[in-house]
Amino acid sequence: MNLSVNIAGVEFKNPVTVASGTFGSGAEYHEFVDLNKLGAVTTKGVANVPWPGNPTPRIAETYGGMMNAVGLQNPGIDVLCGRDIPFLKQFDTKIIVNVCGKSEQDYVEVVERLGDEDVDLLEINVSCPNVKEGGIAFGQDPKALEQITKAVKAKAKQPIVMKLSPNVTDITVMAKAAEAGGADALSLINTLTGMKIDINRRQFALANKTGGLSGPAIKPVAVRMVYQVANAVKLPIIGMGGICNYEDAIEFMMAGATMVSIGTANFHDPYTTIKVIDGMKKFMEEKGIEDINEIIGCVK
């Protein structure tokens, strides 16, 4: 039985990774999960310098999901390279580094710094506010997205995965822009912008007022977008958004994802990744599937 998949020339032992920001750098979840079993670990978004993030409350539970406005708190690229990458190198798994920034220069700086590091893929989070463009996210304007993709691609030594925001009218326009900019792969979806109000205190549930909705509540939207993008561009896709079990993971792959990421589900059950991998194997056995690649995008 073959579970290995390939994205931009990188071979993963299985198609399961974790969604950036839900797993830290793996150090905390390593008490629960044998990281050697994961296809890859995707690290929390990292910028050129430490970011303090947003005030609290940073999260709120919603029906079948949660909202977060952590604000990309991160210790900066030096700490990632000095502490987190060496930690992950102890394990037999691939490393995907998620990168964030407020300007093109920020992204390029991080990507250049990662050039000498032994990491496998760079996932570029374009949902951060673009300070120069007046606060519009790079991920919401196709021209800005194509430009940032080009700039990052020109300096990157590793293949780049552009992580798309679902907060757009037509996701395929964004996917095509990233493809035109030279992306090697796409990942989707990031969180959907939402809001929650505490009616007793007459206040927003989050200090940031709005937050990103994740978890099972967003899964149908994510599956639809993965399907649309898979049919609009030729790039391989890392699919995510509410995956809680192997059935969900298979659904994303049938829609067109080559890999899947487990995010919010880790908070409910830290063993989710391992359960998904085991469940996939069982599903393949039961259905007589020899190679997991057979099912990628099999539903047309």
Binding site: G53, G65, Q73, F267
Partner: protein
């Protein structure tokens, strides 16, 4: 030693006051490693409520392999837990957080409202002179458990038990003395205690609270401001679930 997540069996559940429950879980894997000031995450069976509910350890019985949780029903999760009965199962992760650092000094233990439960295990573990100050809204709970563990002083908002007012009113009224404060309770109470401790040159360990998602230090949901740049985050933020919930008063700004 590390945290685990597993299915625990309910030993018993008892109602202590109108909305306050005491739940005893059989989980030797957690009880064996746990200490005062740490907490566990409890999980709802309803998939609509994804996130864990952090609850402090009120008592730990290493011999029996049980932990006791005392909690107030405030929403969907705690409402569900209040229906658990002997023999039922519940998903639990722990022990989580750092816990109190026990010092051999004259201690003042302060619990406000639903911050009282962790003071019971702390009082059991501390072998020194203990003054225990409790703040209640109206109804009291856990008094019979705490009475044998130290000198008890009470403040209540309605004034029906002890001093009318808050825990600091009780401390002033009864002229309670000590060298170290251990406290858990609502944020405004902790803020006032921090000021009181500084003014009186006392050491204080405060147990803080914030909304949590992972409970193990990975997601950065539950931070509080720290006075110094933190070793892990490299910014002035500490994770309440991992670096806390107990902090030295001077370490944090809230």
């Amino acid at each position: 030693m590390s945290a685990v997540k597993l299915t625990a069996k309910v030993r018993s559940q008892k109602k202590l006051a109108s909305d306050i429950y005491s739940l005893i879980l059989y989980v030797p894997e957690i009880a064996d490693q746990a200490k005062a000031g740490q907490f566990v995450s409890l999980y709802s069976k309803d998939g609509a409520n994804l996130l864990p509910r952090p609850i402090s350890l009120c008592e730990i019985d290493h011999e029996e392999g049980t932990i006791r949780l005392v909690y107030r029903v405030v929403g969907k999760g705690t409402e569900e837990f209040s229906h658990l009965e002997e023999g039922d199962c519940v998903e639990v992760m722990g022990p989580l957080g750092n816990g109190f650092t026990l010092k051999d000094k004259r201690a003042i233990l302060i619990g406000g409202g639903i911050g009282i439960p962790p003071m019971l295990e702390l009082a059991k573990e501390l072998n020194c002179e203990k003054n225990i100050v409790l703040g209640f809204r109206d109804e009291t709970f856990l008094l019979e458990d705490l009475e044998p563990r130290g000198e008890i002083y009470i403040a209540s908002e309605d004034g029906k038990t002890g001093v009318q007012g808050n825990v600091l009113d009780a401390i002033r009224e009864y002229e309670i003395k000590g060298d170290i404060i251990y406290a858990c309770g609502p944020t405004p109470m902790l803020r006032a205690i921090k000021e009181y401790a500084f003014a009186n040159h006392m050491e204080a360990q405060l147990s803080l609270e914030e909304k949590m998602a992972c409970g193990i230090g990975a997601c950065l949901a539950c931070v509080c401001k720290s006075t110094e740049v933190d070793d892990h985050s490299h910014v002035k933020n500490k994770r309440i679930c991992k670096d806390g919930p107990v902090f030295d008063a001077g370490e944090v700004e809230f």
